[in-house]
Every structure is written in structure tokens, then in C-alpha cells.
Amino acid sequence: MASPTSLFDKLWQRHLVIAETDNRPGVLYIDLHLIHEVTSPQAFSVLEERGLPVRRPDLTLATLDHSVPTLPAGADGALPYATPAAANQVRTLIENCATHGIELLDLGDPRRGIVHVVGPELGVTQPGKTIVCGDSHTSTHGAFGALAFGIGTTEVGHVLATQCVFQRKPRTMRIMLENTLAPGVTAKDMALYIIREIGADGGQGFAIEFAGPAVEALSMEARMTLCNMSIEAGARFGMVAPDETTFDWLAGRPYCPIGADWDGALADWRTLKTDPGALIDRDITIDAALIEPMVTYGVSPDAAASVKGIIPPQDDGAHAYMKTQADQPIGTLKVDRVFVGSCTNSRLTDLREAAAILKDQKVKAGITMLVVPGSEAIRKAAEAEGLDRIFTEAGAQWRLPGCSMCIAMNGDQGEPGDLVVSTSNRNFVGRQGKDVRTVLASPATAAASAIAGHVADPRDFPTAAVL
């Protein structure tokens, strides 16, 4: 009998073209390469310089998300790009995809959206696959039991040319989440809690598997939120073993196998779990019942605390930047902007969560709130449910899909000094605009804060009971 093996090791073994040695990293085969406009142009240039073709355009899928405006075209029919360079970047990807025969979810394509939202949505993301993308939040796809990780542009070129990357095997970490989440507490809170516990570099060099009853109870959307944030704990890989929740979610999606192929895939996918007794380099156990709605108060994602808590002492730079003091209650932080969106929290369930709080309420005067769905499909589904009207009637702006204020490179950003409660994944200095202060939170907390005008606990809003 084969020795007990971890989920990570199973997937690693399957994709190893050449094993690593002391002198050479292993060569790992990639089943799915997702590309977007920002981290691909220089990679295509390298191919061009060397006269190389794209080895497997059929295993490559492109979308436009980072630089695209979230406002519609003006009267002249032109999209309101932040800069000519942004428009040029979009045009470059369109041209590169046409030249190399790569499928592109182009502007106007009803399937377009944020790369880590559309992959799962279309069912190209599947258990057991190796998936890479030039974006650190590629770990999102690990929610399906895929081996998914972010790469840099050089490696984007490697994958385009060879469908492989050089990679050394990371160590494995398993985070067991025992018990269940309390009502009104979400996967985003779980992610921030974990990052606070292990630190922003606690997962460095590790591939994390999230397991335990509190994880098994999560929806696929919630698992994606959790895996998405792995990189904020320093881990390039985050994963959850696939189970019936996964299979039900994937069944019938456009790129998933059908008929006998689906049955064959299922039989294989059911073997993708960590065997009892498998060697794990580091095991951590967390009681999920203790987790409360969490927000960040500093400039690193591990500077997180309960929304009802106080800001602990942190280094002077962080206090100065965030305009905070030690011992200040987090609830006293006044809000200027609210952003619901990003590959962390822009799925239909996230939008429902925010809408449940905002229904029949008003965004406090003076606060600008943006709600940016993760994909065109989500936008349509949300509009069919009337979520867009809940947002606009509350005074929020309902935008077109894209990364928007998560990375603030399409013109959606805060003004210097603004405090933004954001459902995205990074609260770094300047991430959402120069001198903009970011408080990371769940969609429910973001919506509650928009109404209250200060960072607020969603559990204090009666409608949060539906969560």
C-alpha cells in the first residue's frame, strides 16, 4: 500500500515533469494558465524576442480586470480609462491573445470578470489541477482542491513557452478549524483571524491546507475567500480538499466534463484528500467558535482585531499613517469610503451579505460607497435579484466588474487621508491611493460601517440575522 500522503503531495507528484535536486528546482507541469493585462505584456515580449510560440494556448485563458474602468463608456462610446497607458495595456492583451490563439474574455464578453472569480465560475478551475496566474491571489483556486499559486511575469513567460515552471516544493501546513463559526461571522473574519494568529509571514515557505468541521461547513464562495487570503499569511498555496460541496458547485459549469467524463473525474477527485497519518510539517488548530467579526487597524493584514476591540500598540509609523493611537476603540474610526469588491469578496453571496445589511438603510451622508461585482455573470445575477437597487437606493454606486479599488490602478481610489473600509485583501500603505488608510473587513462589516459612518459591527444590525 502506498504510504499516507497529504493532498498537497499528491498533487505535486502528479505534476512533476522533472524532480528537484539540490542544484535544480523541479519542473512542474501547469494544467491551467490564467492571464490578465498587467503581468503578461512583458512575458509575450520575451516570446517575441526569441521567436517562441505559446506551447498550449488551449490551456491558457485570458481576462481583462486590473486596468479596466468600472464606469460605462461615455457618450462618445469610449471607456473612461484612467490613463492612455491603461488603455494601451488592455489593447496589448487583446492583440497578444489574437496573435497566439488564446481565448480571451474580452470587454463586452458576458463571461468577463476578475481572473480569480471567472476561473471557478466557468468551471475551468477544477480539483487536482495545477493553476498559475501572474497575481498573488491565485491561491483562491485552491478552494477547489487545486494546486494554485501566484507567479511573476518571468514565469508567465515560462508557462507560455513551455507550460511548466521551475519550482521547489514548499513545506506543508495544516490549519484545522474546529467547531463552527458563530452567526454573523464569515470566512473573511476567519481569514483575518488566522492571519492575526500566525502572522503575515507565518505561512512563508508553506502550502496551507485548511481543514476541519468549520471549513467543511463553508460554501465554495467562502472557501475561496479563505484560500484567497493565504498569501496574506505569506503562503503561496492555500487549499481545501474537494468534497460534495465542491462537486455540487462545479456540476454543469461550462468547462467541466459531462457524462461519463464527469463520473470519471469525480471518482478521481474523491481521492484528493490528505490521508490519515500523512506527514504534515506543521499542524495548527484554531477554535472557529471564538472568531468574531474582524477588521484590520494597521498597514499589514495581520494587524487585525475584533471589530469591537481596541487598537493595540503598534509601531509609530503604522499609528502615524493610520492616524490612530494605542487603546483607541476600533469603533471610533471614522469612515470616508467603503469598497465592496475584489477577488476576495465580490461574489454573489458577498453581495447578498452586504445587501442584507443595507436594505432599507442609507449610506451615511458624506461617505462614498462602491459595490463592484466580480464578474459580468455576478452582475447579472445580482441585478436579477434586485441587489443593485438595494445598493443604489441606499446611496451606494453599482459598478461594472473589475479589480477596481483593490489595487486602485484603474482610477478607482481614495483621496489622500481617506479611511476606506474595504472587502479586499491588502491594507498596505498606498494600496488604495496615496495616503489612503485601508481597513479590511467582510462585506457585512463594510455595509454596517457605511451606514454607521464609523467602523461598525454587523451583528448590531437586526437584518444581519439572515446571514
Binding site: P25, Q89, H158, G205, G234, R426, F428, R431, K434
Partner: protein, 191 residues
Amino acid sequence: MFAPLKQITSETLVLPQENIDTDQIIPARFLTTTSREGLGKVAFYDWRYDDAGQPLSDSPLKDEKVAGRAILVAGANFGCGSSREHAPWALYDFGIRVVISSEIADIFSSNALKNGLLPLCVEKDIHDYLLANPGLRVHVDLETMTLTAGNHTLSFEVEPFARQCLLQGRDTLGVLLTHTDDIAAFEAARE
């Protein structure tokens, strides 16, 4: 393409802040480029220029302070954040060939090594010494894997494959392409 890196001697440029993330190294609004050339101009842009694009008089990165400095000593957890390879491109173009810290983020390190930039993690005591002595003359020898600073000499390790590529100024795509047959065989076996 980058120049081979064998030995380098330079006065250090010191940025003692911890957690200098890739958004600091190159702000997102400059990522709309489709080229990798000339990004040194926007390296640490918000540390160097005000909103009007005028040089900040109190910047630790004023031109005269950084001229000729190829070794950057930074606070712990350097290069965290977004995986943008624009960060090492910008640093390289800014004239940096070696980054020294007590801790350097994974993805940044791997991106740096692919682009002619050597990330070096050192023990806390030597890190503190380097931080406390900006402008110190430091010698880094990648062939012998030693670093000399003042009267300290220490050895360091670099992932052997990345080291070879750096020493030769060779990028890894060429090496990967030599495995085309193995890759084809792997694909055929899976069909």
C-alpha cells in the same frame, strides 16, 4: 536580460523601515506599462516625489544620496505584498544589485533572482549593524558566497540554480527549453 553578478562592492543605501512592500517599491499606478525598461524612474516614487511630481527635500532616496549605491539594506520583511515583478525590475533599473534584510518575502526573492538582483537574508546582529551604519562599504562575492562589511565577514547561501544563473547572467527560460522533450513525454503520458 541582466548583467552577470560575481562580485560587487558598494556603499550601502539604508531604508530601515520594516515591511517595505512592493507597492512602495513601485506604486500600482505605474503598472500600466507594457515594457520592463526604465522603471528606475518610478522606483519608490512616493518616497521621492510629492503630489506635483517635485522631488521631496527630506527623501531618504534623494538622487545625490543614492548615486552609485548598488547595495540596499532594508528593514525586516522586505518585498512583501503583491507579486509584481515590476518591483525587481524597478530596483535593478534604479541601480540596485543586492538587497540585504533580516527577512525577505518569498515571491519577491524568487522574482529578484530571476532578474539579476541578489536578495540576501542575514542574521539579526549583522542586520542591525548594517542598518546602524548607512553608507558602509560592503563587499558581496557571489562566487565564494561571502559578505564583508567593516570587520565582519560572513558566508551566505543562495539557491544553487539561481546562483548559477546570476553568475552567468543567464535567464531560466533557456534552461527550461532544454527540457522540451521531457515536457512532451509528460504530456503524451497523460493523454
